[in-house]
């Protein structure tokens, strides 16, 4: 802590505190007048939407304050997540009046307007007083007396204390900003609930997946290899008993075919667990391969500016794979369009077809499972599928 207090931080924290005055002046100049106007017009209906607009302005001021903290002190205050809203733009505007984010931002802006000048003054004293004290002592060094000594001592003390004062002031600002501009406790609790639910669902999905793989192995390759061993055992016994070479050959042929089939089954199963091409050549190569196997013609458009982390890449691959399988099975589409965009902020997947539509995540477990896996990555999935108008699935996953 001592190091951070005495490092360059001092200057940055000081800058933040000094900027308290202009911020205070700006907010005081804008918002009381704006709110006054809105109140004044409240009796004409226009006042109410105006009030909502001013509140949006307050929220933007809050965003500016968060930005300022990031740029000067270097501390990130997570924005409060917005509440779900729907309906017309008028309706949404009026919902701004009830949005707790806005009122909490207002509290911060009021607080900042009131404290800004004092904080500015404190910062100024922290810088100016030691300079004044030490320089005046230097100029009057020949007047050696109690007064000079006390000035020097107070100057040195101020020099030592300054960074601590700046630190304490900015930290208190930061915690107030986190409390008022960040997610509220209720939102954090809700978020934790959602995370818990998606975590439970993805654990359940992973367990189901393991059971499926075990069953596939048991019914497929394992059974096939058992018959291979059985038939080879029969062949050996035939030979020991001096049996007909043609019969033995026929038995070995069967075993040979089964062994090859087991290899194919194991390869398919392994590809279902993790396709090697995905690691080697990324989404572009891996999706090319799925599309090549699709019975429906697919227009593939993939642009990966920044390669996503491996788990996101894998989720994207299986999402496209599953959506294409769905399209093949249910949509009766003539064409499917797959668009994938990946940049340093997010991964967006759009899979659309011109088929019969009518897909509903509430009915099929497939889409629901996909939604869970997307949610586990903090992503969202939107399904648009009106009867007769094709199906479009949009998946957005942040990095």
């Amino acid at each position: 802590m001592i190091r951070s207090v005495y490092s360059l931080d001092f200057g940055r924290r000081l800058a933040y505190l000094l900027l308290g005055l202009p911020a205070s002046v700006l907010w005081t100049a804008v918002f009381p007048a704006a709110f006054g106007l809105a109140f004044g017009l409240a009796f004409v209906l226009i006042g109410i939407p105006l009030f909502a607009l001013v509140l949006i302005g307050v929220r933007m001021a809050g965003d500016a304050e968060r930005w300022l903290l990031l740029e000067t002190v270097g501390e990130r205050v997570e924005p409060a997540p917005r509440a779900e809203s729907s309906g017309s733009s008028w309706r949404r505007l009026l919902e701004e009046l009830r949005d707790p984010r806005n009122w909490r931002a207002l509290a911060f802006v009021v607080l900042r307007s009131l404290t800004g000048p004092f904080v500015f003054a404190a910062a100024l004293i922290v810088v100016v007083y030691p300079l004044w004290a030490l320089s005046s002592a230097a100029w009057g060094w020949w007047v050696f007396g109690l007064q000079t000594v006390s000035i020097i001592v107070s100057g040195v003390l101020a020099l030592l204390l300054g960074p601590w004062i700046a630190w304490a002031f900015t930290e208190s600002h930061l915690s107030v900003a986190r409390a008022l501009l960040g997610p509220s406790t209720m939102q954090l609790t809700e978020r934790a609930d959602v995370v818990q639910q998606t975590r439970d669902r993805s654990i359940e999905a992973a367990a189901a997946e393991r059971r499926r793989i075990e069953r596939d192995l048991h019914d497929g390759a394992q059974a096939r290899l058992s018959t291979v061993a059985l038939d080879l055992g029969r062949a050996k016994r035939r030979i020991d008993q001096g049996g007909d070479p043609d019969e033995v050959r026929a038995i070995i042929d069967t075993a040979h075919e089964d062994a090859k089939a087991a290899i194919v089954e194991l390869r398919d199963l392994a590809r279902g667990i993790h396709p090697p091409v995905l690691t080697d050549r990324g989404l572009v190569g891996a999706l090319d391969e799925i599309v090549a196997r699709s019975p429906i013609p697919v227009h593939l458009d993939v642009r990966v500016d920044v390669r996503p982390p491996a788990h996101v890449e894998s989720a994207a691959y299986f999402a496209v794979s599953e959506l294409l399988t769905n399209a093949t099975r249910h949509s009766r589409a003539a064409t499917v369009w797959v668009t994938v965009r990946a940049n340093d902020r997010e991964l967006v997947i759009d899979v659309s077809d011109d088929g019969v539509g009518g897909a509903d995540p509430a009915i099929g477990s497939g889409l629901r499972g996909l939604e869970d896996r997307v949610a586990a990555l903090d992503g969202t999935m939107t399904v648009t599928s009106l009867l007769g108008e094709g199906t479009s699935v949009l998946i957005e996953v942040p990095r």
């Binding site: 019914d219 058992s226 059985l230 029969r234 089964d258």
Partner: protein
């Protein structure tokens, strides 16, 4: 010999069918789940049923439960159970009624066709066939096998548990038949098993052993 095959994998069912046919046996029916096993048994009264442990619907121990149920109704039903894994408790459940005609083998033993066919005949003839791994697991569980037994008697009992005849035991141990007979009667005496006309003593000896 008429054999009923109860196994949910079609592939393995067909393979078993080929094997049995090679050996001059007939597969009277093949079914894939526990309830059709019981009705198929009633319908065909086979000389032997070969039963997979894991079957639909739950894929756990349907085969064992159906076998125990069948044996409680028909003591003379001969059953050879095939399992993917060694599960000692399954073996004891099967043997619990004290009469022979049951076997418990790992599925992969089918590939050693000669031994498998021997086991099939043994169980159909009223003997037992326990997988060597099951027997070993039992010996591992009971660190000091039946205190009074000598080391050699322990080895004989282990092979008896697998279902081997005295001749076969003599062969595997590299000793004479007479020596094995001496050991077996000594084992019966030490386990307190009197000679009886039905003479299921070999099975009973294994049971004593399992019960400890």
């Amino acid at each position: 010999m008429r054999v009923l095959v109860v196994e949910d994998s079609v592939l393995l069912r067909a393979g078993l069918g080929r094997l049995l046919e090679d050996e001059g046996m007939t597969m009277v029916a093949e079914v894939g789940d526990a309830s059709s096993f019981l009705s198929a048994w009633e319908a065909h009264r086979p000389d032997l049923s070969i039963v997979d442990v894991r079957m639909p619907p739950t894929h756990t121990d349907e085969g064992i439960r159906a076998s125990v149920e069948l044996r409680s109704a028909h003591r003379d039903a001969k059953i050879l159970v095939l399992s993917q894994y060694v599960e000692v408790s399954y073996a004891s459940e099967l043997l619990a009624d004290g009469s022979g005609g049951v076997g418990y083998l790992l599925k992969e033993r089918i590939a050693d066709v000669g031994e498998f066919v021997d086991a099939v005949h043994r169980v159909a003839g009223g003997g037992t066939a326990l997988d060597p791994e099951v027997v070993q697991a039992l010996f591992a569980r009971n660190r000091d096998p039946i205190d009074a037994l000598t080391v050699r008697e322990g080895e004989v009992l282990e092979r008896m548990a697998q279902g081997l005849t005295n001749t076969a035991i003599a062969e595997t141990l590299g000793v004479g038949l007479g020596a094995v007979e001496k050991h077996t009667s000594s084992i019966f005496v030490k386990l307190g098993l009197e000679p009886s006309p039905s003479d299921h003593r070999r099975v009973l000896a294994v049971l004593r052993f399992l019960d400890r």
